[in-house]
């Protein structure tokens, strides 16, 4: 990963949700950095804290400890300037657009509020940028007249209208039809090239993370367990959880018949975040767990290929 200052970063961030009776320990000491013109993928199962991290980066709620930094400066709270730089695209394009407002309303408001020209030409240019052509037709449509993929493009156009430098995508394709998912991924890749955006791509689909991103981060139950260049994480996973995730993902190439499925032992489920296991939270499911794993979270071990992991298996001491 490059040496320059990250555009947006979460540094050693912890988030606990207090619900009165109990505390949900959603994130523990997580660090994630986003660089200009690079795409980072954040991979994990539901409840791993991916969405919480994205929403912390987008300042939807404050951190419990740690810092969110924009170009090196600690962010104190959400304001218009912050959202001029950072935008988030939601998972569900059916919920993220106002069903009673036309497509152009979304884009035009975003342009106007950030002091950009908001005439028809500007609106159409943005819609064309996300491949909604003929833009003049799409501008006048209501969300229910669009397919899921088209809606997600509108949401992306709205985010782009403020001319941000960071785009956070919270599972932006998981609710879309299979055949149009790649279209949206290719669009994100193009925006990275053309606009030099820093992109965070959150997903549970590790194959699509490999397709789109430069770096992959893997989270488990609120802890960051592995990260590094996409290919090293996929081809040489260091953490047993990453390996489990890879082995579980459908891979038609691997199928020599259906044998791949039957090999899986009963591996349990992710822990409750109200009362998570001490040490490495993966240890109850980990076939290689040692005594150490049950008491303390391992420090980071770095590898020559640029990847790193937090796992006692890779720590000599």
């Amino acid at each position: 990963m490059p040496e320059e200052t990250p555009v947006l970063a979460a540094e050693d961030v912890t988030k606990h949700f207090d619900t009165g009776r109990q505390t949900v320990r959603a994130l523990e000491n997580v660090t994630l950095r986003l660089y200009r013109g690079r795409i980072a993928a954040l991979v994990g199962e539901s409840g791993s804290g991916k969405t919480t991290l994205a929403r912390l980066l987008a300042q939807f709620y404050p951190v419990t400890s740690g810092e969110i930094r924009l170009r090196g400066e600690v962010v104190s709270g959400p304001d218009k300037d912050f959202y001029g730089e950072v935008q988030l695209v939601f998972q569900d394009p059916f919920a993220s657009l106002n069903s009673l407002r036309k497509v152009e309303h979304n884009v035009r408001r975003a342009l106007k509020l950030h002091g950009h020209a908001a005439d028809d030409a500007a609106v159409h240019e943005l819609l064309a940028k996300v491949n909604l052509t003929p833009a003049a037709d799409f501008a006048r449509k209501l969300p229910h007249e669009l397919s899921g993929g088209q809606r997600q493009r509108v949401a992306i156009a709205r985010a782009l209208a403020v001319r941000p430098s960071v785009l956070l995508g919270d599972e932006p394709i998981s609710m879309l039809d299979v055949s149009i998912r790649l279209d949206v991924l290719n669009l994100l890749a193009r925006l990275r090239e053309e606009e030099g955006l820093a992109l965070l791509y959150i997903t549970h689909d590790i194959a699509s993370a490999r397709y789109l991103s430069d770096d992959i981060y893997v989270m488990y139950a609120g802890q960051m367990v592995e990260g590094g260049p996409a290919e090293s994480v996929i081809q040489e996973p260091k953490h047993p959880y990453t390996r489990l995730l890879l082995d579980s993902s459908p891979d038609p190439e691997r199928a020599g018949g259906s044998s791949a499925f039957t090999a899986t032992a009963k591996l349990g489920e992710p822990p409750s975040l109200v009362d998570p296991p001490p040490g490495c939270r993966f240890h109850p499911r980990c076939p290689f767990a040692k005594e150490q794993c049950k008491t303390s979270f391992p420090p980071r071990t770095e590898f020559a290929d640029g990847s790193w992991t937090n796992c006692w298996l890779h720590n000599e001491s």
Partner: protein, 281 residues
């Protein structure tokens, strides 16, 4: 279809309320005109709906009464809706301390015993005309609506599209009026109709209990007067029309509300049974 019938009935009464006096003049009848030749007469050619025991025309009284009943209903409806929108949406959208205070006030109004209170207030105010009654009902009847709107606003506020608009820097007033309020239109119109009906019923109830002005006529006062005389003498034509009008308006608001529900909640839309039978036969 249901909705159309409902709207039809409401429009019918509204038109009568507006053109009432002119209509009475046109037919040469009036609510206070006494026909000494026709006292307590059943419906017939001279008096289409018959006359009261004082010899006034029931139809003329009904027409005049429609205006006052509708005024009571709509004034109470408008006041109640404005209050419940202001209180409910503000509480739901801003949350926190604002919500705590407004919810407390709402709950207080919710547990107030409205009818006894109305009786007391009406007793203090001289000459309780329809506007007074409408004001009382509107001022005391908004709480339930405010609570519903608060809950709806609360859920809307957390929706992704509101978060997204907040992220592009949309101002709070525009957020409320442009993004949130339009989604509540169904609730608000249902609430308005409900208040209208409640007010008309309450006014009739109050008149029945004797709380009304001596020189206004409404559906309620007609029933009240009929109660004293008509029941004993079997003068059905005197009390059936006002009763029927109230029932009809009640049905109409119910029908329109069904329609609004179906539009807001597509799951309630039932399959077209006729079309299915035809296709499968």
């Amino acid at each position: 279809m249901k909705v159309r019938i409902g709207i039809g009935i409401i429009v019918f009464f509204s038109v009568i309320a507006i053109i009432g006096p002119w209509l009475n003049d046109l037919m040469g009848i009036g609510p206070w005109k006494i026909d000494y030749d026709a006292i307590a007469e059943p419906p017939g050619a001279g008096h289409l709906l018959g006359t009261t025991s004082q010899g006034t025309d029931v139809l003329a009284q009904m027409i005049a009464g429609t205006r006052n009943s509708m005024v009571v209903g709509s004034v109470a409806g408008v006041i109640g809706v404005i209050l419940s929108v202001v209180v409910g949406v503000t509480a739901g959208f801003f949350g926190g301390k604002v919500d705590a205070v407004l919810s407390f006030v709402t709950n207080m109004f919710l547990v107030l015993p409205v009818l006894p209170l109305t009786l007391i207030v009406a007793g203090y105010v001289q000459d309780t005309g329809p506007i007074t009654i409408a004001l009382i009902i509107g001022l005391f009847g908004w709480a339930a609506g405010a609570r519903t709107l608060r809950a709806q606003t609360l859920s809307l506020r957390g929706r992704d599209f509101v978060m997204a608009m907040r992220m592009i820097g949309e101002s709070k007033p525009r957020m409320i009026f442009v993004e949130v309020l339009p989604h509540l239109a169904g609730w608000i119109s249902a609430m308005f109709l409900h208040l209208v009906l409640a007010a008309i019923l309450a006014e009739a109830g109050l008149a029945f209990l004797g709380v009304s002005s001596a020189d206004t006529i409404s559906w309620g006062t007609v029933i009240d007067q009929a109660r004293q005389v008509a029941l004993l003498n079997g003068m059905w034509w005197w009390f059936v029309p006002p009763g029927l009008c109230i029932a009809l308006l009640g049905t109409a608001t119910g029908l329109v509300n069904f329609g609004i529900d179906e539009v807001m909640n597509p799951r309630l839309r039932t399959a077209d049974i006729k079309a299915m039978r035809k296709a499968l036969a």
